[in-house]
């Protein structure tokens, strides 16, 4: 073999040596390629594995955690929910529509191969600022790609979040989450159990898609086939819809022992992972793989990342039945090999053996690294920043309108009205509230889900930012009336080989783990996306949390809009003198600095428990957490969502006006309560040890805010005016 081919494939010297040792010989070209993809960061997590160990992953409800295709939690009634998030950042930067669409397709297959029916999609998006035409192109393309795939599949896209910040200008983030449901007994694993069982490839044909992954130039690949390799994959949601129905049908019929999607590393990944999980081997014949293009080499077939394919391992003797089901759905299902006892993944081309590698070597034996780390120098400066040296604007009405119309805070209706968020008729709370709520048919239960993460916080204080991401996601779910039960995460970072980035990475995980521990929400699945960098530097460190909560009784479902004239408005939690890292500083002063609000996990837990108890005892009619933009923005959103005004009286105490109105102190929830239940609310709050104040009353057509020490109203804005600014902002920029 040409010397240093391993290098071109992205392997390190020590890794190459280890491969030789494992095999007891030189690997051939195909074998080397298989190692290279499986030992790439993307598949092996070799740089992140150690840090990820910090996550709490166990809990009463957890059926399976990280390591499977998706995590699963028990929700009672013999049912489980399965969920996971995945990034498709790089493909979306090249071709936003197809990149985002195939990202959705990929995460759906992860859920599907657990034997679950996907019931909801969410997405978390980051872009540069909308004044750039390129950013508008990316934003538009990503949203319509997500819409197209999810809508066509008949899976509602019920929630998510979008932020615009220049750190994402060269590197948009597209994180997609999927939630599935199943009867516990139907849970399928990605395991190739049972020696002699056949291995079937189903769905789309294999083409020369996405082979570059870990490898580029080489002698064995002719320049012709090189040029034939598409750089972008095109999604086929119709094919995937058929695949979905057919896979569920064979699962329910009890024909299969294991199932695995084909994602990164294609057939190589799916075969080695399923074999390795079962501690067994597998023999496959590339000759049997249905191809889309002529003249594909074993190398191309083994590494192709063509979409809309699955690996299915039926019980021996059930091949015909499985084939029949797939045929019914107009799909191909072909036996490409069988499970063996020797632990070897053997790739044949007819009778010729092309590769022989212990399956475990590909999936388990990649060396694990602890990259260098170093605290970035900018942190100290940010922490010492004093906002009090800045002028305070005269007109707080204008500040509020500016905040409401800033794209990161403005309504995301322009986005979610392109998503079918109602299909399957479970969506009890639609996008636009703190969390989406889906009823579980056949039970009296519902689940709530939210995705959250604040890159700016994590940039300025990774550990705190990590904790806040978890806390906010949990709080959003709580506002919907749900007890948070578990989370999935997507960690979007720059190049981990840079010590500052790796330091941020570890700190974020530490913060997230602390919060997940404190709030009782184990991490059951996740994804890491590194190398989100362009010439302009790395993105903000951006961990995204996808939280799922359980509502035991559908009568406990809540949303953020104010409900009825005369209801009392309480603030659970106390506003602290905090303004660092806020949207206020960003929008009013163009500053992204300062000290991140301090999250006290005990306080957070108490507020969430209080809110849930007050919902359970029917005290609370609406609930909305304070996040970006602070109290004033949260109040405005509750007015707009409920189409009713509010009269608010705030006490200034030691706070400056911007802190009081727009500070982003954590662990605060705005709730409304029937006017006769004031004392009940206050005494319950006391019981939970949560400082709680009555701040006003629902009614009228305006949001009016008075502050002690000032005779005039500080804020007086009609709902119509706020709504116009908030609802119209993104649409206006996208015209």
């Amino acid at each position: 073999m040409k010397s240093e081919t391993w290098k071109e494939m992205g392997l390190r010297k020590n890794e190459y040596e280890l491969i030789k040792k494992i095999l007891g010989r030189e690997p051939n070209y195909l074998e080397l390629g298989m190692f290279a993809v499986m030992w790439s960061e993307h598949c092996s997590y070799k740089n992140s594995k150690k840090a990820l160990k910090m996550f709490p992953t166990k809990g009463e409800r957890v059926i399976c955690g990280p390591g499977e295709n998706a995590g699963a939690v028990d929700i009672g009634n013999g049912k489980a929910v399965v969920f996971k998030v995945e990034s498709h950042n790089h493909p979306s930067a090249i071709e936003p529509f197809q990149g985002a669409a195939t990202g959705v397709g990929g995460i759906i297959r992860d859920i599907l191969c657990m034997g679950a029916r996907p019931i909801a999609l969410l997405n978390s998006l980051r872009f540069g600022r909308l004044d750039s035409p390129r950013v508008r192109y990316l934003f538009n393309g990503v949203v319509s790609g997500i819409a197209w795939y999810g809508n066509c599949m008949g899976i509602p896209t019920v929630g998510g979040e979008v932020y615009f910040n220049k750190s994402y200008e060269g590197n948009p983030l597209v994180n997609a989450m999927c939630i599935g449901i199943l009867n516990r007994d139907d849970l399928t694993r990605g395991k190739a159990e049972g020696v002699g069982n056949p291995v079937m490839l189903v769905g789309a044909r294999t083409g020369r898609d996405g082979i570059h992954g870990a490898t580029f130039a080489s002698e064995e690949l002719s320049s012709e086939s090189e040029s034939k390799r598409p750089s972008v994959q095109v999604g086929d949601p119709f094919m995937e819809k058929l695949l979905l129905e057919a896979c569920l049908e064979v699962t329910r019929a009890g024909y299969i022992v294991g199932m695995q999607d084909l994602g990164a590393a294609g057939i190589t990944g799916a075969t080695s992972e399923t074999a390795s999980r079962a501690g067994l081997g597998m023999e496959i014949d590339v000759n049997r793989v249905p191809l889309r293009e002529k003249g594909m080499t074993p190398y191309e077939i083994m590494l192709s990342e063509s979409q809309e394919r699955m690996l299915v391992i039926p019980q021996k003797g059930k091949e015909k039945e499985v084939e029949k089901v797939f045929k019914k759905w107009d799909l191909e299902a072909v036996v490409i090999g069988y499970v063996t006892s020797d632990g070897i993944l053997r790739v044949k081309n007819g009778s010729k053996v092309e590769a022989e590698i212990p399956a475990r070597a590909l999936t388990e034996m990649c060396p694990v690294y602890s990259p260098e780390k170093k605290e970035p120098s900018y942190l100290k400066e940010a922490e010492s920043f004093d906002w009090r040296k800045l002028p305070i604007p005269e007109d707080m009405n204008k500040v509020l309108i500016d905040l409401l119309s800033s794209p990161s805070i403005a309504s995301k209706e322009w986005v979610y009205r392109q998503y079918d968020h109602m299909v399957r008729i479970n969506t009890a709370v639609r996008p636009g509230s703190d969390a989406a709520v889906l009823r579980i048919k056949g039970t009296n239960k519902a689940i709530a889900a939210s995705m959250d993460g604040n890159g700016k916080y994590c940039y300025l204080d990774p550990r705190m930012g990590g904790s806040i991401a978890v806390a906010e996601a949990a709080r959003n779910v709580v506002c919907a009336g749900a007890r948070p039960i578990a989370l999935t995460d997507c960690l979007n970072f720059g190049n981990p080989e840079k010590p500052e980035i790796y330091w941020q990475f570890e700190q974020v995980i530490k913060g997230m783990s602390e919060a997940a521990e404190a709030l009782g929400t184990p991490v059951i699945s996740g994804n890491v996306s590194f190398y989100n960098e362009s010439e302009r530097g790395a993105i903000y460190p951006t961990p995204i949390v996808g939280m799922v909560g359980l509502i035991e009784d559908i009568s406990h479902i809540r949303s953020q809009g104010f409900k009825e004239e005369g209801d009392l408005i309480f603030l659970l939690g106390k506003t602290e003198p905090e303004l660092g890292a806020s949207m206020y500083l960003e929008v009013v002063h163009g500053l992204e600095t300062g000290r991140v609000p301090v999250l006290d996990l005990k306080k957070e837990k108490a507020v969430q428990d209080l809110c849930l108890e007050a919902i359970r005892t029917n005290l609370i009619k609406s609930a909305h957490d304070c996040s970006e933009g602070g109290l004033a923005v949260a109040l405005a959103e509750s007015c707009i969502s409920g189409n009713i005004g509010a009269d608010i009286n705030l006490v200034k105490e030691n706070l400056e006006l911007p802190e009081l109105l727009f500070g982003e102190t954590q662990s605060r929830i705005i709730v409304t309560v029937d006017k006769n239940k004031k004392e009940d609310m206050l005494s319950l709050a006391e019981k939970f040890g949560v400082p709680t104040s009555l701040i006003g009353e629902v009614g009228g057509r305006e949001l009016k805010i008075k502050v002690s020490e000032f005779s005039d109203e500080i804020i007086n804005l009609s709902i119509a005016k706020m709504e116009k600014a908030w609802r119209g902002a993104i649409e206006c920029l996208m015209l």
Partner: protein
């Protein structure tokens, strides 16, 4: 005035789910002689201009900048002079 007839098609190696589905449908309708189907776009632009060369340059630019997506598509065009 010129009429530009523009053809935008998926690059050969790019999957065409739409074409595949239509091909299958034609087979099901008993048009078994159909070997393959690829579906692209056809656009007609009426363009003010003096001579074919300058108009052609502009059309080429419009295609590469907006009308076709160079990552997955290719294009070609014809120009016909028309009476105003």
């Amino acid at each position: 005035m010129f009429l530009a007839k523009i053809y935008v098609t998926l690059k050969e190696e790019v999957l065409d789910p739409q074409g595949n589905a239509v091909g299958k449908a034609l087979h099901a309708m008993n048009y078994k002689e159909v070997q393959s189907v690829r579906i692209g776009k056809y656009m007609e632009l009426y363009i003010e201009g003096e001579d074919a060369e300058t108009v052609g340059k502009r059309v080429d630019e419009m295609c590469s900048r907006l009308l076709a997506n160079p990552v997955i598509e290719q294009y070609s065009y014809e120009l016909v002079e028309v009476e105003t």
